[in-house]
Symmetry: C2
Subunit: 352 residues, 2 copies
């Protein structure tokens, strides 16, 4: 690999500068993404056509000096492959035609075979690896079982999580059965991504932060830990680093660091100096610029990048990123300002 | 006052049992509320008609053995009185006809005279106090300047807070000017509520949790602290206890406890034992049952109430509440189960 800064930082090995990538770096803020998506017809066709998924995965790398590519896909491909019927209503978020609401529906769920039912993702991974040609590592990903289950049970995005929290409090055994099934599906899916060539995996736990501390451990973290434990090595026999990201998970970083993962994604509500103090040397940290900083002028972006680098401080173990996905309305030139600032300002933190 | 448990708990004075009320206790989950609202025509008419605001304020007290009434109103009455033109689009949240987007618009804002421009709220307070007739204390409230400003700048509810965060990062002096104006308006408004008879005040900081730790201190907490410092005494000369509630403010409880307020609202993402350990004896704590628990069966509600009481532990200084407003879809019988459980299970924590 020509640029292995990300892998090295995730392993807390020395690097020349802090690696940087952005959550949702292949996304709507890029005009070239919007053009490809419009050619694809819709978001799901884009996900399901390996050539187009590969094309949009590579777009941000053509524009910016990024240290990683991340597979273009969606966390809801797994429940879609389970037969729930994923669709996107115009101007709204994802929805399922057949949400899972009771014990009988949960029992009927089967773990999909990634090769057969998610083959379009596996094909995309192989194609992207070929196109990347060893330039930067490719990150694969999945949703956390809790987060994926919220969509499966609610049938759509939610504000109060009435249905899944109803299950959680009233029928926890049913919810555990659902999470167990999703966790097994996720292990098979991520291991298929690894076999096809992803070199890092990330679990997105977008909705773990809506839980109580106890429910977070029992219904979200426990299943992420199981997934991390069951990840296979890459085709060359090397261990594939894993990143856990719970949005709003700041209070639980210590617990997250105990799962055996290699790094934690940290949103902007916790400073990296505090996060680093709390997790010690157990894991690397990824983050954590407020994505809204990218609405601001270049000098502000540069100052906030400087503050974030200073907050993590000296040494390896920091992967620069936003604290959440880049907002669709951001000017790509502002993303470039952030990436340039990381490249220019971070080397002193790695000087020996 | 016949029932002063709330006031005593906020002052950390001995009580016979833990006082209990619910955020949004006068709200859509109650059929009698929906009936009054439908008579009023719409939500804003309900807020603006003192007799109807009084009626819905008292409805939950007729049904449940609650230890406090909370004024029925909305946090956006203040910017409405500033001339922004509040309205509610069908099935959507609040919106402003004239959002505040630039320095010129911010400079044009004036602090409204509560007696003249928010007289309907003051009248409602007087009416409610008369109807309560000394039974339980009446809580007045306002939104935090940051939270109110998010609506003023975005013009509606928001997901990414693009406009106000653009101001925060790009033109912080303009945002400070806006927050200063809203803070002065809020002081005048809360002091008018106190003069009219509210016996406790609460600041709702619904959106403080979307900020970085530094931005939270500078743009939200600082202004709440100023408001707390400028609250007047009640007509009888007694100090009026204040409660600060930042949703998602768990990481910052120590800072919040330093503001001079009497109590902190705590959402369900932090356990009360941890919160109590962190704030010591400086403040009382209010909360923190996950509102989604009220979707569950009575025995589950009772078990979760027991867990919450046990988490706070022995002694005064706990006001039982939900960690956020009661969800509109909750069966009122489930709210009753929670309130009954607090009444039945809390006395042992106050035995001497």
């Amino acid at each position: 690999m020509q640029n292995d800064r990300l892998i090295r930082a995730l392993r807390r090995e020395p690097v020349d500068r802090t690696p940087v990538w952005m959550m949702r770096q292949a996304g709507r803020y890029l005009p070239e993404y919007r053009a490809t998506r419009s050619r694809a017809g819709d978001f799901l066709s884009l996900c399901r056509t390996p050539e187009l998924a590969c094309e949009v995965t590579l777009q941000p790398l053509a524009r910016f000096e990024l240290d990683a590519a991340i597979l273009f896909s969606d966390i809801l491909t797994v429940p879609d492959a389970m037969g729930l019927g994923l669709y996107f209503a115009d101007g709204e978020g994802p929805r399922f035609e057949r949400p899972v609401r009771d014990a009988a529906a949960i029992r009927r769920l089967a773990v999909p075979d990634p090769a057969a039912e998610l083959g379009y993702v596996i094909d995309a991974v192989q194609l992207i690896r070929k196109e990347l040609d060893g330039s930067v590592p490719l990150i694969g990903f999945a949703g956390s079982p809790w987060t994926v289950a919220t969509y499966m049970v609610e049938g759509a995005g939610s504000k109060n999580f009435a249905h899944i929290k109803g299950l959680l409090y009233d029928a926890p055994a049913d919810l555990h059965r659902l999470l167990d099934t999703v966790a097994r599906a996720t292990v098979a899916y991520l291991n298929a991504q690894i076999a096809a060539g992803v070199q890092v995996v990330m679990l997105f736990d977008t909705w773990g932060g809506v839980l109580t501390p106890r429910a977070y451990r029992d219904f979200s973290l426990q299943y992420m830990q199981r997934i991390v434990a069951e990840l296979v090595a890459g085709p060359d026999g090397s261990r594939v680093p894993s990143i856990l990201f719970t949005k709003g998970g700041g209070p639980w970083l210590e617990d997250m660091a105990e799962t055996g993962c290699d790094a934690l994604g940290v949103d902007w509500t916790v400073n990296l100096d505090e996060a680093r103090r709390r997790v010690g040397h157990r894991v690397a940290l990824q983050g954590n610029l407020d994505p809204a900083v990218l609405y601001a002028a270049h000098r502000v972006i540069r100052a906030e990048v400087a503050r974030t680098l200073e907050s993590f401080g000296h040494g390896s173990g920091h992967v620069f990123n936003l604290g959440h996905g880049i907002h669709p309305g951001v000017d790509p030139a502002h993303a470039a300002a952030m990436i340039d600032a990381v490249r220019e300002l971070s080397p002193p933190y790695h000087a020996t």
